[in-house]
Amino acid sequence: MRTAEKITALPGRLGFETLESLAYLGRLARLVGQSARVAWLAPWQGQRLHSQRTFHQAMAVGVRAIPVVSLISLFVGLIMALQSAYELRRLGAMQFVAAAVAVSIVRELGPLMTAIIVIGRSGSAFAAEIGTMKVTEEVDALETMALRPVAFLVAPKFTAMLVMVPCLTIWADFMGVMGGCFFGVAGAGFTFASYLEATRTALLLRDITTGLVKSALFSIVITAVGCQEGFATGAGAEEVGRSTTAAVVKSIFGVILVDLVFTALFYFTNRG
């Protein structure tokens, strides 16, 4: 009986989880919409922009991430060079190492690795900061002072991330190519100039722009999930830990999902 009940309950659970996920997407979309209205419409209506807070967030999200992003991208570029050389050597085609690294970094790994780093640094920080503020009643205090928490806390983060994450991605692309260059010069018979030339010819503008569009979308996902999890924090320190973890895990999933959708989209619209 019990087993049969469990089996018949499965479609119900599936339906429930699907609806819950759609509701979650709705909450994220509402956050994005409210922030967009504050960030872009409100200045025309005469309300004040929180530019100092946005700047402060941009420093934390972008500038302070440069060392980590540089190192990781450098290593990833090196890894990609090594992996592609492993196969290309057997085919006697080592001159394609530069192209392999360039395409994989600029189109996929640059945006994705940057997004993962930003999730770990900033996505978790957003959830923890807003979650803690919820627990200490600071979010309530903002509301009672007629300061909308979304306008005050979330909109600056969105603006900062939308500007900084694509910039970090460009930097990551560059460092990735440099990492590949290191291997190319040391072990694949390139010179510095010939490697860069090979990279340049392998890349199309389309590769760079698709990478940047993806990184902008990633930044929206990361901010929305991080802030939403922060606002959904219950009472107590344990809840803050839980919501921070949830923010990171859901952001990673969201980023990969968006990556899949838009990579497929770019593929099907550019087959010509």
């Binding site: 004040r48 803690t132 503020m133 009643e137 600071e138 205090a141 509301e143 009672t144 002072m145 007629a146």
Partner: protein
Amino acid sequence: MRESAADARPPVISVLNLRVSYGEREILHGISFEVRRGEILVVLGGSGSGKSTLLRTLVGLEKPTQGEVWIKGVNIARASPSQLDQIRKKVGVSFQGGALFGSLTVGENVALPLHEHTRLEASTIEIMVRIKLEQVGLARFDDYMPSQLSGGMKKRAAVARALAMDPEILFFDEPSAGLDPIIAAGIDALILDLKKAYAVSMVVVTHELASAFLIADRMLLIDRGEIVAMGSKQELAVSANPRVRQFLDRVPEPQVEDELSYLQMLTENRKTRR
């Protein structure tokens, strides 16, 4: 005589048949009361009585399921967000832990509402901040971070921030909770000073009896979501209502109601909660 002069003016807060629920559980079961201009109304109640829910509803953080809450002529239960904002700019709230923003200094905390809602110059705001901090006895602490303050100082800073926009109504959530008697007495004295200096109306939610009797003009006792007693502090002190007497005389709840329920409690199958 004195009473009727104060009663002639319309009440600053008017609550009619207020019902508030969290999901399916109703916390407040149809409460009605008034707060008169310039008075300190103390809301007494035990844990779980609904007094925190009442305060949260009065400041607009919870929406009632039924009833009306009139503050300065606006029913905040049905107000639009912009109307609610206008009321909030005239109201100051001091939360239980202070709820100071940890990333800002004390001075920046107090300046925040002025900075966001007015077009005053930074130097003017700074002077106003210093005035408010001096009023609460934190004159030289404007550059301190909230984490560097003691519990009593945090509460004082929270009061200074609540005063920043010169509100007409002040709400206090457990102002003396967790403080030693001396510091708590300091907060009580501060509340009385504010009443004299600013002629604000105040609603203080607390369960500290000594503070309540010191600062209150009128008191109201909430128990299990209903008002059990309301009146001046003298009236409550001599009330014969058993729940009031139990609260004021600090009588603990009886341990066992009867043998049957005791046995039931011991032997029933408890459902495990998530």
